[in-house]
Symmetry: D2
Subunit: 334 residues, 4 copies
Amino acid sequence: MIVVLKPNPDKKQLESFKQWLSSKNIKVHKSEGINTTILGLIGDTTQIDIDSIEALDIVETVKRIQEPYKNSSRKFHPEDTVISVRGATIGGENLTLIAGPCSVESKEQVCEIAKAVAASGATVLRGGAFKPRTSPYAFQGLKAQGIDYLIKAREITGLPIVTEIMDISQLPLFEEIDIIQVGARNMQNFELLKKLGTLKKPVLLKRGLSATYEEILMSAEYIMAGGNKEVILCERGIRTFETHTRNTMDITAIPVLKKLTHLPILVDPSHATGKADLVAPLSKAAVASGVDGLLIEVHNDPEHALSDGPQSINLESFDKLSKTLFAIHKVIQE
Amino acid sequence: MIVVLKPNPDKKQLESFKQWLSSKNIKVHKSEGINTTILGLIGDTTQIDIDSIEALDIVETVKRIQEPYKNSSRKFHPEDTVISVRGATIGGENLTLIAGPCSVESKEQVCEIAKAVAASGATVLRGGAFKPRTSPYAFQGLKAQGIDYLIKAREITGLPIVTEIMDISQLPLFEEIDIIQVGARNMQNFELLKKLGTLKKPVLLKRGLSATYEEILMSAEYIMAGGNKEVILCERGIRTFETHTRNTMDITAIPVLKKLTHLPILVDPSHATGKADLVAPLSKAAVASGVDGLLIEVHNDPEHALSDGPQSINLESFDKLSKTLFAIHKVIQE
Amino acid sequence: MIVVLKPNPDKKQLESFKQWLSSKNIKVHKSEGINTTILGLIGDTTQIDIDSIEALDIVETVKRIQEPYKNSSRKFHPEDTVISVRGATIGGENLTLIAGPCSVESKEQVCEIAKAVAASGATVLRGGAFKPRTSPYAFQGLKAQGIDYLIKAREITGLPIVTEIMDISQLPLFEEIDIIQVGARNMQNFELLKKLGTLKKPVLLKRGLSATYEEILMSAEYIMAGGNKEVILCERGIRTFETHTRNTMDITAIPVLKKLTHLPILVDPSHATGKADLVAPLSKAAVASGVDGLLIEVHNDPEHALSDGPQSINLESFDKLSKTLFAIHKVIQE
Amino acid sequence: MIVVLKPNPDKKQLESFKQWLSSKNIKVHKSEGINTTILGLIGDTTQIDIDSIEALDIVETVKRIQEPYKNSSRKFHPEDTVISVRGATIGGENLTLIAGPCSVESKEQVCEIAKAVAASGATVLRGGAFKPRTSPYAFQGLKAQGIDYLIKAREITGLPIVTEIMDISQLPLFEEIDIIQVGARNMQNFELLKKLGTLKKPVLLKRGLSATYEEILMSAEYIMAGGNKEVILCERGIRTFETHTRNTMDITAIPVLKKLTHLPILVDPSHATGKADLVAPLSKAAVASGVDGLLIEVHNDPEHALSDGPQSINLESFDKLSKTLFAIHKVIQE
């Protein structure tokens, strides 16, 4: 971290600042120019609050050189993290397709979809049991029963399952779940993240609608700091001025996050736009840009889905799309 | 709700759509033009998911006329909601100043600040005991002890207290708290909102960084649908492309929300920008635009604050600002 | 266009509104419900200002059904527009690579780059002679001399050339230019657009940093309304809250614009992010999503480029990337 | 400017970088830490392109300390710029009300409005003759005739007039105009800015919809670098994710720009939101925050305005608002 001091800083304040840094085990390298004095802070500055330093009367400006995250940083962990769960593999050279309905609606529905997507190349089943809905009057999911149906579908297909948790109190119901999903609206529900950090189970962390790359990595850090190193990141659309689609899929997040972190990155093209006809082109784009996998909403009867029907594709479309995705993945691996 | 059908809609699908609407007690008024058939849906459409209807093959486009919120809507409740708590009043013709430190740091600190802000015209004390921080390595608040200190400050000054809850599990510690704050990052933590809806205690709900006006009202609706009608809304800055300030304070939110809802609206100019020297001009702006109150971070020693020091103003500045705010409030009341 | 009236509209005002519509050759289909009266406007509503109608005291809300653009709409022109210029083809089933330096710096530079990119599969040469720079103190381009050098490079390689115009007064210098580019900052320089609409020369129109899909199509409409139907659209990054990259490339723009319009769509991954190492993954993503071509900054010596060096890739990287792009294009064509 | 080098920078490249800096009259102060070498660049760095330096292989990161603008910076010109034009004064301790119709529609209309707003305290008349419209099919203004009508209104009332220029070629028509306005869409029409820099006439520069504070100051710099020091800045709403209003008025721009620059700052609350009922609360907010003046659309018959009727207030509303604005201004001056 580099601290640029204002001209003629108060000596007493400067001394007290240096003592405070010293108490944090930070060494200071001072460099004096004609108009400007620069302090280089050497040591572990992840614990230092950049805003608190900028608040000091004697400080002109501060620049962080070291990232504020450590466990998730590729600098300290150059190789890709690869997560294995019941035979499915996420990260590394793999392209992982995670598919299933937005909401679990019935045992028949989720089992039929599970069998079909497995046959088309998906290796993980997704399905919502607890549904975060903007309106308290909208369908909120089958809850515990939904989780039972997912487990049933896993028994039949062997596919590991991922589903979303909305509150710590729901955790006992997630004991059998293979991957726990944290939704975009809970990306900074820090108490939930801390709790998930104590588990031995992969966590799929979705990016908040207006979260920066650094912020999602800091949220991953909350989980990893607790000991759970199996975090999967997921881009699912950000909020911009454009209103044609529900959100704007941030394709740049993929190559940037691949550079900053060793954790696997997925994209959810279904939520990113909310329109079924955009799922195929955006899935192809994500794979071409180097994503580790996709989270795609697939429904056996999109028109009658109880939630988010408009963004689900049907079984035939998924089967066709899947082939193209693996073909593109092969091209970019060469 | 108005549904515009595509030209030559499939008759079977149209019939099945009408039956579904009928099952929801929605009446349909059909109007046929040369190229376009329009359905007017009459009844309580708050429970109808606009996206699900747009997904139908026979539908061209849908437009909501009635808002999707009811409890918080001014249409159904024209008079302002006025909330009284231990002698303080929020809403109506009042201008309520809520002040205090970002984080509770010690009994002495919070009591000294409480006495000073009360003398300057504040009628509610704020202070963070549980602090949501982007980094797991940053100071996370004094927690239960912080709440004890706030209660001590209330004993001395008589000021009711407001402090932030981060998770349902913390609720037992909030029994003595007068107003429970839900932070911006938890605005769509729906399980928490539902729980707070069962209490008999005012809830101060902060707007999420990228939440629309409709979304904050839907979150208020989650609380109100549970029976708790005492919700206070708070604008605290939104995320935009501008990076000079941490967030961009949305002044327009005040007159717009005053029109859409009967609930009181506050502004938090301290978090909205993160810079102490912007607190005064933005507070004056908020009062001039018709806000019901302000949530201002005040510190007896901003340079040594353990969190968010840069955005706190000192006791003298608050005292001076307070006088100007009441003077502006008087002008616009005339 | 559908106009929803307020309950009990003033009869005189309603009559005067209908007469005004009639004077614009718009027919009105009225439909009365219990609480709501709806007017369906039938005819060419592209000339009707939706805001003016919403302003009327008797109007509750308005919804446009027909898009406000016509010449650029795929509805009225279902087949792709394919633009041919000196042997290069843009649009249809083609993937067109447009490459060259950000700024033309010398005859040697632009000719060397032109030869190299042509050998790697580019069919159009790009290069800036007039450079729009945020700062008046920054290098503003070689101007007329830069255009001369581009023409020289065309003589040697046969590649048609595209370069940016910044003001109508520069037009005489563009007589020999094959495709005239309008930069993002001039997307709504309507006088310039009108003038370009009178030419018989393709125009490459870049999307403004915060322009919606509808707005770029309306700007295309300005050119096309003048008689010039050869407009090429280009996505080059939008402004969002994320600061890691200069802009955020909007990949969704590609499939959405392909659906709304018959005009060819390009992507400029170099300006979209401002970072050379992101050019390859984002180019691949754009091709996979169905783009018609790419505009890539290529430099023979990126480290010494006079402008925008950081985002240029070198000749070897372009050659390698080009092969992958055509391979992905082949996969998605199948 | 501070340049942080990568560990073990190539010596030859470092030498060549230093020579290049030396050729620009920039002195270098080097400071070596254990892992990091920092260069402090001393001299006039406004001409240095920060991106070009960041592109260098040997550079880790760069931080600008000095702002890239000079003429508009308050650092080099601490006192407020006060602009006088035909008796009206903008800047300093004044509150200047600029009012008039969105579009000039007829001589009678503009003269009636001019007389009324003058009586209510406005000291400058605004009115659009050339109208930038998103659609080529919308009303584009009365052009030269509109300017004639404005001049007529000035003759009658004595009010100086401000109106918008859209292209350099229109300049001859602006000879009699007192203040030339540059619209938001032309904020980075650099050729136009350069031309206006050669005039001896105040320029009212509106902020682009997604322009940062630094960018509007750089655009002011284009005008000032040409010799014309009379630039007036105007905030008119930025583009955000919120769709309830057309744009989001950025109230923070006022105190921030007052700190960064000595130029006067206005706010246009009419365009910022596009809704007449928001003009009053937002005008009051702007005055309370310290703005130098307001640009308000006033119409004698808002319902029949040819453009932007919905956002115009009528003569009575303006008269009432004006009184409150001067009262608030008095409070904050005390």
